[in-house]
């Protein structure tokens, strides 16, 4: 097959398998990604997740800023409201990415997916990429909206700088994108929504709450190495951090990469 647009209706009826390692041809990773994109938006779940994320962002940042104003907290960068809202908003991304994977298993359509893209690493990579892009765009959009809402609610108790705010908005987007990759990995490993969500709620919310609730430097140190603990350090400005933002990004990325590899291991090993 040398032509990039394959003659799907072939005129010659010789029935040799018309297939050669043609990486440049349509299909491949680009095709797999297009396929995942089509699948994602063809059902209602992602829309609902994004709507929920937007609503949570609005409510969270409004209260965050209002409380800061009422309690007369020290002036802080306005982007901190949106950065803080990620603790809840991340679950909109988690549910979106979870459902994108587990619905394939619950409906059996994963077989159709693997028949059209039998290279399993490619299926997972395409899903992770699509989820990450959506999470990045959604995360930054939420952050912009959240910052605007917070600015009004802070009513003067926050500082605004174009540079830092932009950085914070991008940081939230990056964090959400990494959470999406993490989720896709866990979902491919667990295959069921309940299992996936339990793991992620524990990792991203319950465990940090317990660690910080119990207090103490050791537990805080552990929390600093969990995804949201580390994410918080590169999203929020002005708080004390045990390491720089680049390290924080790497920690979250390492979690995402580990989950991706575990998911890939299960996906490759197990029968579909």
């Amino acid at each position: 097959m040398t032509t990039p647009t394959t003659p799907v209706r072939r005129t010659d009826r010789s029935r040799a398998v018309p297939d050669a390692p043609d990486r440049g041809a349509p299909g491949g990773f680009a095709g797999a990604t297009a396929s995942e994109w089509t699948k994602l938006w063809s059902v209602r779940a992602p829309w609902l997740c994004l709507l929920a994320g937007l609503a949570i962002t609005g409510v969270f940042t409004y209260y965050y800023a209002s409380i800061a104003r009422i309690n007369e907290h020290p002036v802080q960068p306005v982007g901190n409201a949106a950065a803080s809202s990620a603790v809840l908003v991340q679950f909109a991304v988690v549910v979106l990415a979870t459902v994108a994977v587990t619905s394939e298993y619950s409906t059996g359509s994963v077989r159709a997916s693997l028949l059209s893209v039998p290279q399993r690493h490619r299926v997972q990579a395409a899903k992770a990429l699509v989820a990450a892009v959506v999470a990045f765009v959604a995360g930054t959009t939420f952050a912009v909206v959240g910052t605007a809402v917070a600015w009004v609610a802070f009513d003067g108790r926050a500082s605004f700088g174009a540079g830092p705010t932009l950085l914070q908005v991008l940081a939230v987007g990056l964090y959400q994108a990494l959470v999406a990759v993490l989720t896709v990995g866990v979902a491919f490993a667990a295959r069921h929504p309940a299992g996936t969500l339990s793991i992620l709620v524990t990792l991203l919310w319950a465990l940090p709450s317990v660690l910080l609730g119990l207090g103490g430097p050791t537990l805080a140190d552990v929390n600093d190495h969990l995804p949201h603990g580390a994410g918080d350090h590169f999203m929020r400005l002005g708080a004390e951090a045990p390491y720089g933002p680049a390290t924080a990004v790497l920690i979250v990325a390492a979690w995402a990469a580990t989950a991706h590899l575990i998911g890939l291991y299960v996906l490759r090993r197990r029968d579909a």
Binding site: R15, P26, G28, A34, E104, R111
Partner: protein, 323 residues
């Protein structure tokens, strides 16, 4: 062409597929028969790269499925027709697969038209009847205009029209030189559709032969005769029974079923002893009978499940150990 060599699938202690070796050739319809649980679907899933073989391999045109770059243009498969996201429209389901293989979207509309789903194309697949789901599954298999088709129970849930339609479609595809591998538990349908048969039981190959040979091997000479006069009937039966290997059954209505003699032989004999016949015909063995004869020795789930080992000396000794 599909090549299966020593294909084996083991789940714990159970051998689901045991050293299967056969070829599915182009230009004919190869039927895949076996009792429930014989390993047909597992075999098909291994051919399609969905399940990993414990041993052996299955190749399509010399390559494992996972090595195909644009697999839908090489192999069209239909496994479980219901395995579609119920909220996704049939069309989008196909568009997603088309995109993954660089197939133009207009081809999706073509195959939807071909299977008669154009009207329902944009409805959620969850609202489809079983027959419509089946048609969507066939549309998916035809999407890449592949030279190889693998269809697992394609006529399941189809109405008689749909069954005829599948039969014609499958015959046409084979006539165009494609490889068609088709499983079905509907024997009469298989008899009309397939040219070649691969029969398995308990995961093992029982037969790999043409339909004609399969039927011929199973049908010993036998015939049916109606003798109106009771005395003449008794005479005929007596004369028939003098030979070895002949058995005669007489029905209440006086119809004789003769095993071991053809209609021609009975006719000659009747003429010879001046016996009047009202009816005389060879008994044709149907695929169902031939199949039953063959698998009777290896049916996994006979009554009571005590039939652990009526099959063969080499049968797996661990049957029933698990589960």
């Amino acid at each position: 062409m599909i090549t299966v060599r020593g294909l084996t699938k083991r789940y714990g202690d159970t051998l689901a597929v045991d050293e299967l070796t056969f070829d599915v050739r182009a230009g004919r319809v190869t039927g895949f028969l076996g009792p429930n649980g014989a390993g047909k679907s597992t075999t098909m899933r291994m051919i399609l790269g969905l399940d990993h073989p414990s041993r052996g391999r299955a190749l399509i045109a010399g390559r494992p499925y996972a090595d195909l770059r644009r697999p839908l243009c090489s192999v069209g498969a239909m496994l479980d027709a219901r395995a579609v996201h119920p909220a996704r429209s049939g069309r989008t389901h196909l568009v997603a697969q088309a995109r993954a293989n660089g197939i133009p979207v207009r081809r999706v509309d073509e195959v939807l038209e071909k299977v008669g789903l154009t009207k329902a194309a944009r409805r959620p697949a969850g609202t489809y009847s079983l027959g419509m789901s089946g048609r969507l599954g066939v549309a998916g298999a035809l999407l890449g205009d592949p030279p190889v088709l693998v269809l697992d129970e394609p006529v399941n849930g189809l109405d008689p029209d749909g069954v005829r339609w599948i039969r014609r479609l499958v015959r046409d595809q084979a006539a165009e030189g494609r490889t068609v591998f088709l499983s079905s538990h509907l024997m009469s349908e298989m008899q009309l559709t397939a040219d070649h048969l691969v029969v398995i039981g308990r995961g093992r190959l029982l037969s790999d032969t043409s339909m004609t040979e399969f039927l011929a091997a199973a049908s010993s000479a036998s015939a049916r005769a109606v003798v109106p006069d009771p005395e003449e009937r008794a005479t005929l039966v007596r004369r028939l029974m003098t030979a070895d290997g002949v058995s005669v059954e007489t029905s209440a209505s006086g119809e004789l079923t003769v095993e071991g003699r053809t209609a021609a032989e009975i006719g000659d004999l009747a003429h010879h002893c001046r016996v009047r016949l009202h009816q005389l015909s060879d008994v044709r063995v149907s695929l169902e009978q031939a199949y039953m004869d063959l698998t009777a020795r290896s049916v996994e789930y006979t009554t009571g499940g005590s039939s652990t080992d009526t099959t063969a000396a080499g049968a797996a000794p661990n049957e029933g150990g698990r589960q």
